[in-house]
């Protein structure tokens, strides 16, 4: 167990290092920099800026310096926003993104898993058709279209929910549906196919031959087995939801992390790009790790190693 954990953590650190390195190299490989501008800036100013942010140092030194900061969990100052650090962006944005993400995650789980179960158990009946129709819509229509439609109907026409912001709990409803729609559909389909597969297994026939009720067959013998593939994709899904969606945050004017990330790329804000990428990667890796631990709880065939 301890050996396994050490190995996993070492792997995580190596992965993060490679992600940071790759991002750094790609970022610097593109011509131009954070201070490239349409306006004429005097050479003296440019030199001073480069000097201040140590962009004149050789690249390897810049990278090593960055890694040094990273070890102290210091993601460095933003190149574009005077006096702001990347840590500030995360500290400001993450609570909004994470809160919306958590609400959305609960919604996704509560909607998708029952939908998948009903659909599998009523295979080929109208309930199944209905769920699969909803799931197809959810997977194919982009979130910003759903968001716009929801705002038009529920905020503009019916006036039930605010148009933007998350000042009250009502504000979470529309972004939650728009952001979670894809995951709900995807997980419902996965749950359905997984449960259908399990229900055809020999051990389900054995359970039925014992004379136990069909409800017990499903709950006790089928669901846990059927959850395994769902748990697998849950790691990346959780990471995605909690770190925020640029599109949804933009539409609903939520000051989350997604906005900072996308803006930093267009503005060539080196430290912010790196910081956000490394943060997101760390989050994703951590979630995958937690999922792996969950696996061991669900499936006795999987051991630590």
């Amino acid at each position: 167990m301890a050996k396994y954990l050490i190995k996993r953590v070492a792997m995580m650190i190596i992965t993060l290092f490679l992600i940071a390195l790759l991002t750094f190299v790609l970022m610097h490989a593109v011509p131009g920099g954070p201070f490239t501008s349409d306006k004429q800036v005097s050479k003296a100013v440019l030199d001073a800026l480069n000097e201040k942010y140590r962009l004149n140092d050789p690249l390897w030194k810049q990278f090593v310096d960055y890694l040094g900061g990273l070890v102290r969990l210091d993601l460095g100052p933003s190149f574009k926003y005077q006096g702001k650090t990347v840590n500030d962006f995360i500290n400001n944005g993450l609570p909004y993104s994470a809160r919306l993400g958590a609400v959305t995650l609960v919604f996704v789980l509560l909607a998708s898993i029952p939908m998948g179960i009903v659909s599998a158990l009523k295979n080929g009946k109208w309930q199944d058709m209905l769920v699969m129709a909803i799931a197809t819509i959810g997977v194919t229509i982009p979130s910003f279209v759903i968001a716009t439609a929801l705002i038009y109907i529920f905020s503009f026409k019916l006036g039930w929910t605010p148009m933007y912001g998350v000042d009250s709990w009502k504000g979470y409803i529309l972004p939650m549906i728009a952001m979670g729609g894809y995951s709900v559909s995807f997980l419902a389909r996965l749950m359905r196919s997984s449960l259908l597969d399990v229900m055809g297994q020999d051990y389900i026939r054995t359970a039925r031959a014992k004379g136990i009720s069909e409800t017990r067959v499903v709950v006790k013998h089928a669901l846990r087995n059927a959850m395994i593939p769902v748990v697998t994709v849950l790691g990346p899904t959780v990471a995605n939801l909690l770190t925020g969606s640029f599109v949804i945050e933009k539409i609903f004017a939520i000051p989350g992390m997604g906005g900072y990330f996308v803006n930093s790329v267009t503005q060539r804000d080196y430290t912010t790009i790196l910081g956000m990428t490394v943060f997101y990667a760390a989050f994703l890796i951590a979630m995958v790790f937690i999922v792996d631990l969950f696996y061991c709880l669900i499936d006795p065939r999987i051991k630590f190693d």
Binding site: R205, T206, A209, K210, G211, I212, S213, K220, N225
Partner: protein, 340 residues
């Protein structure tokens, strides 16, 4: 004595996208109390479907379309789901072919066996149940049963898993045990152990067994009586000694010719039955075995033969046994004339 199980003219179909599969097309047999009936046939003969029909475990696509199934005189075909649940496990238990896939991989063995007891005897306390599971594990000779209660199926070998399946099936002392090829997926040496175990447990508990297999060797070891199935029909039925002494159906003869014999001359080749089983969506008009039968006559293709009584307590479905069948080249007539 009244038989424990009486099946009359059982018909079972499956609805598939290609059409209705007539898996069982009118099968009748009895399982006597305390005895073992072997049902023999190749894949697709309808032998497994017959057993699943008895327990109503046909899934959503299969259904019994006709006939009668009586357990100790009590008709089962009209039973509701709830009534069937009380019978499954408690009065008729079943063991399946593949012990690797027939146990739930995520539930400890002791709990899977215990669930059977829990379902049919809710008044039992948890401690009593655990004690009873231990007793069952000892009965099927699982080594170190206390340790094995909390083990998962993947920690067991195939033979051990099948022992657990047997323990589970016998937990409620069923009147009838249906074993659907319980040894097919096991090594030969393990097969023998399992068969011996089943025989000794049957003697101890006095239950009746319906043993489904494609292996006549296994039948010879365990069964009192044999029913040979082909193409959804019961071709021949006889006591074990009689059928091995003198098979009275060309298909049974074919099956026997394809058993390897240890004492046989090395140069004598095994005789496989040529051809393949019939399409059960459009079952043949006549005898289903006719296209593969070396003795087939014109009438065999036209009409399903009636049963002929071929001796004491035995019958066979073959046109060669008809009083009007030609004697020349007839494997059954020559023998009978010689006997007379």
């Amino acid at each position: 004595m009244e038989p424990i199980l009486q099946v009359r003219d059982l018909r079972t179909s499956f609805l598939t996208s290609n059409g209705e599969v007539h898996a069982v097309r009118g099968v009748s047999f009895d399982v006597e109390k305390g005895k073992t009936l072997g049902i023999v046939g190749e894949s697709g003969s309808g032998k497994s479907v017959t057993s699943l029909s008895i327990l109503k475990l046909l899934g959503t696509t299969g259904r019994v379309t006709g006939g009668s199934i009586k357990l100790d005189g009590e008709e089962l075909t009209g039973k509701s789901r709830r009534e069937m649940r009380a019978i499954r496990g408690a009065r008729i238990a079943m063991i399946f072919q593949d012990p690797m896939t027939s146990l739930n991989p995520l539930i400890p063995m002791g709990e899977q066996v215990g669930e059977m007891l829990w379902e049919h005897n809710r008044s039992m306390s948890k401690a009593e149940r655990q004690e009873k599971v231990l007793e069952l594990f000892r009965m099927v000779r699982i080594p170190e049963p206390e340790k094995r209660l909390k083990s998962y199926p993947h920690e067991f070998s195939g033979g051990m898993r099948q022992r657990v399946m047997i323990a589970m099936a016998l937990a409620c002392k069923p009147e009838l045990l249906i074993a659907d090829e319980p040894t097919t997926a096991l090594d030969v040496s393990i097969q023998d152990q399992i068969l011996k175990l089943m025989r000794s447990l049957q003697r101890e508990m006095g239950m009746s067994i319906m043993f489904i297999t494609h292996d006549l060797g296994v039948v010879a070891e365990l069964c009192d009586r044999v029913a040979v199935m082909y193409g959804g029909l019961l071709m021949e039925e006889a006591d074990i000694v009689d059928i091995f002494k003198r098979p009275m159906h060309p298909y049974t003869m074919g099956l026997m010719a394809s058993i390897p014999d240890m004492n046989q001359d090395k140069h004598v080749k095994l005789q496989p039955i040529p051809g393949s089983p019939p399409d059960m969506i459009h079952p043949p008009k006549g005898c289903p075995f006719a296209p593969r039968c070396p003795y087939a006559m014109r009438v065999c293709m036209e009409e399903v033969p009636p049963y002929a009584v071929t001796g004491e307590n035995r019958r066979s479905m073959c046109w060669l046994l008809d009083p009007e069948a030609p004697a020349a080249g007839n494997p059954f007539k020559q023998g009978r004339e010689a006997a007379v």
